[in-house]
């Protein structure tokens, strides 16, 4: 029997006298109460950034060429998945090497629901996420029983079991040849082709940009809200010291499974978008390497931050494109598949490996860490510490 103690009403901290000065309150970074600590966008600076982002969202597809738009679209999709992985690995401390499997799950679900059953995007996108979450729920109990590296290897096993399923469930996945995933459609409105459905002079890249970035924003804000509220605190408590967290009353089982479910939801939804963007998917796209790529994204971007996940996704998507573009200028690199010298693919993979190692050794906090240092430097200038 649990004894229910009468709880005192939550005390609001008395506002600091400084807070009555409206000017001071608006200065970015001045925190005068707990509500300020928790605020998503703090002060004038925060809201300026939001307004700037909204403006950028509308302006970018009109100004930027298709190459950069495709980089950004891939970034947005990978960013959603990376945010999911960061909630699991960065915030809760559960290492997963099976993120690619959940992406595949989402992509094939989207292909089946949208392509074979002709459902609109409003159905298949959430449904893909839910299927991912459901499988994540099934995988969750492993997280309860297994610690650390054993869990990492079980998720590695998921990738191989998943690849087997994707290759062999031919009615749904099309086997080794893969299958088509439909464009995001609602009643004839094709979000990947606003040119023919609305008559707007927009290419596929431009249309997809407008479609996918609001979803990224939604995913990022939701993740931020999870991270700064009760479940997020519980995740971080489990990550930092599991036993201590259990002692102060964090339900380990519940929050570990919850982290798995949320992360799989993100991954599967991102997978659905990925498939829809690529139009055609094969099982080979969801292998171990793709899972490792997402881990690389959160390492490069910053473990335990939401914006770091997006920055990392951008970096990991961008580097191979840049190398590809520069490859004619680099000696010993062959451009064609059969040519002599090192192929672009090999060079890219090599760089990828080097990046992971260098970031972990020299900048474990990732791009987010660099950014934070830079910000502190500017704020405290000329006093460095």
């Amino acid at each position: 029997m649990t004894l229910q103690l009468p709880r005192p009403a939550p005390r609001r901290s008395a506002p600091s006298p400084l807070a009555t000065l409206p000017l001071l309150r608006r200065i970015d970074g001045l925190r005068t109460g707990y509500a300020d600590e928790l605020a998503l966008f703090r002060g004038v600076g925060g809201w300026t950034i939001v307004a700037g982002l909204a403006l950028l969202y509308l302006a970018t597809p009109l100004v930027v060429d298709d190459f950069w738009l495709s980089v950004m679209n891939f970034t947005a999709i990978a960013g959603i998945a990376a945010i999911g992985l960061n909630l699991l690995t960065g915030f809760t401390g559960q290492v997963s090497l099976g993120h690619g499997f959940f992406l595949g799950l989402g992509a094939y679900t989207a292909g089946y629901l949208g392509g074979d059953l002709h459902l609109p995007v409003l159905v298949w996108l959430p449904a893909a996420g839910l299927v991912g979450a459901l499988v994540g729920l099934l995988a969750g109990p492993f997280a309860l029983r297994l610690r650390g590296l054993y869990l990492a290897i079980v998720t590695l096993g998921l990738v191989f079991v998943g690849e087997h399923l994707f290759l062999n469930l031919r009615q749904i996945t099309g086997g080794p040849q893969g299958r088509v995933v439909p464009s995001p459609l609602i009643d004839g409105l094709n979000f990947a082709d606003l040119h023919s459905s609305l008559g707007l002079p927009l290419s596929r890249e431009q249309s997809f940009f407008l479609f996918v970035f609001p979803i990224l924003a939604l995913a990022a804000i939701a993740a931020k809200n999870i991270a700064r509220s009760r479940p997020g605190r519980a995740f971080q408590a489990i990550r930092d010291r599991e036993i201590a967290a259990a002692i102060i009353g964090v339900d380990r089982a519940r929050y570990k499974v919850a982290a798995f479910v949320v992360s799989s939801f993100y991954a599967a939804a991102a997978g659905a978008l990925y498939g829809s963007y690529l139009r055609h998917i094969t099982p080979g796209q969801f292998d171990l390497l793709s899972s490792i790529q997402f881990v690389a994204m959160i390492i490069v971007g910053g473990v335990g931050t939401v914006y770091g996940s997006i920055a990392g996704a951008f970096f990991v998507v961008l580097v191979p494109r840049v190398v590809e573009g520069l490859s004619p200028a680099i000696p010993f690199v062959s451009h064609s598949a059969g040519g002599s010298g090192v192929s672009v693919f090999v060079l890219n993979q090599l760089l990828f490996g080097v990046l992971i190692v260098l970031f972990l050794v020299f900048e474990p906090l990732g791009l987010a860490g660099i950014w934070a240092r830079l910000r502190t430097y500017v704020r405290t200038w000329p006093f460095s510490y």
């Binding site: 610690r147 590296l149 054993y150 079980v154 079991v161 087997h164 080097v354 050794v361």
Partner: protein, 297 residues
């Protein structure tokens, strides 16, 4: 029946190779508490080194010995230059470093030697020993014999030599080991050296006839993960048993599943060992012989 016997011998031979790879995982995990995801790539690099040395005038045993020495150096170098900086960092970070290393080594190998299939050049090549109406590959026999010798050496090393005992002490408690004067840092380096050396040997048997040398061999070595996990990551004996079980399961499933249960799909043997591993972990979260971690407040 002779079919079955042949598959069993094949399975045990494959299992011995897996056991050698798994031992590489175990020795690094036991001393440094890190799973070395680059072990498969060390195996790959070792095999290519044997091939390259054998292409020069060196006889095969000499090239194997030299490759083992070089790989020990590579293991030592990796520990010295990269992993030593990571002492005290979260395990996750160290593991990711080994994944980064794995990617680098695999690409270096394919940059140097390309993607063509190559023959390792072992002297016994495709020779067969007649047995029943089919016969078995000499490779299988040599693999099993060599693996048994190496595993025996391992146990002698851990039980009777100073370095081996020091390694066990380090695995048990780093601080206490330091307190009694064990040079923990050089124990880490030794563990990596041994992992590198054993990888070269595993590489020889993984790529000898009927297999060939190809950069994808590094992925084949990933299948030794279930072996290490099955036995428990910190148990050398478990690694051997796990290796043999995984090898047997893989070969027998490959041999019989297409007739017995075709509905499981093509290449089910790849997924089967992972399913086996997941099943074992559900029942025993630390593997069959792994040490159960005790939570202390």
């Amino acid at each position: 029946m002779s079919d079955f016997l042949q598959l069993v011998i094949q399975g045990v031979a494959l299992g011995s190779v897996y056991a050698l790879i798994a031992l590489g995982f175990v020795i690094v995990y036991k001393s440094t508490e890190v799973i070395n995801f680059a072990q498969g790539e060390l195996v790959l690099l070792g095999a290519y080194l044997v091939y390259a040395l054998n292409q020069t005038a060196l006889p095969f045993p000499a090239s194997v010995a030299l490759a083992v020495a070089i790989m020990a150096g590579v293991g030592w170098g990796i520990e010295r230059t990269i992993l030593r900086r990571m002492v005290g960092k979260p395990t996750f970070a160290v593991v990711m470093i080994t994944i980064g290393l794995a990617i680098m080594i695999r690409q270096l190998v394919s940059a140097v030697w390309g993607f063509d299939d190559r023959l390792l050049g072992e002297p016994w090549a495709a020779a067969r020993i007649p047995l029943g109406d089919l016969g078995i590959n000499v490779t299988s026999v040599i693999t099993i014999a060599a693996a048994s010798v190496i595993l025996a050496l391992f146990f002698v090393f851990f039980r009777f030599t100073r370095a081996g005992v020091g390694m066990r002490a380090t695995a048990l408690d780093q601080e206490a080991a330091l307190a009694v004067g064990i040079p923990v840092h050089s124990v880490f380096a030794q563990a990596w050296m041994i992992a590198g050396a054993i990888a070269a040997i595993a590489g020889v048997f993984l790529t000898a006839f009927p297999a060939t040398l190809h950069p994808a061999v590094g992925f084949t070595a990933l299948r030794a993960f279930p072996a290490a996990i099955l036995g428990g990551l910190d148990s050398p004996g478990g690694a051997v048993l796990g290796g043999v079980v995984v090898g047997l399961v893989e070969v027998l499933v490959q041999g019989y599943q297409p007739q017995v249960a075709p509905w499981l799909g093509n290449n089910f043997h790849v997924a089967a060992t992972y399913l086996l591993m997941i099943g074992v972990l559900v029942v025993r979260p630390y593997g069959l012989f792994g040490t159960r971690e005790v939570e202390r407040v």
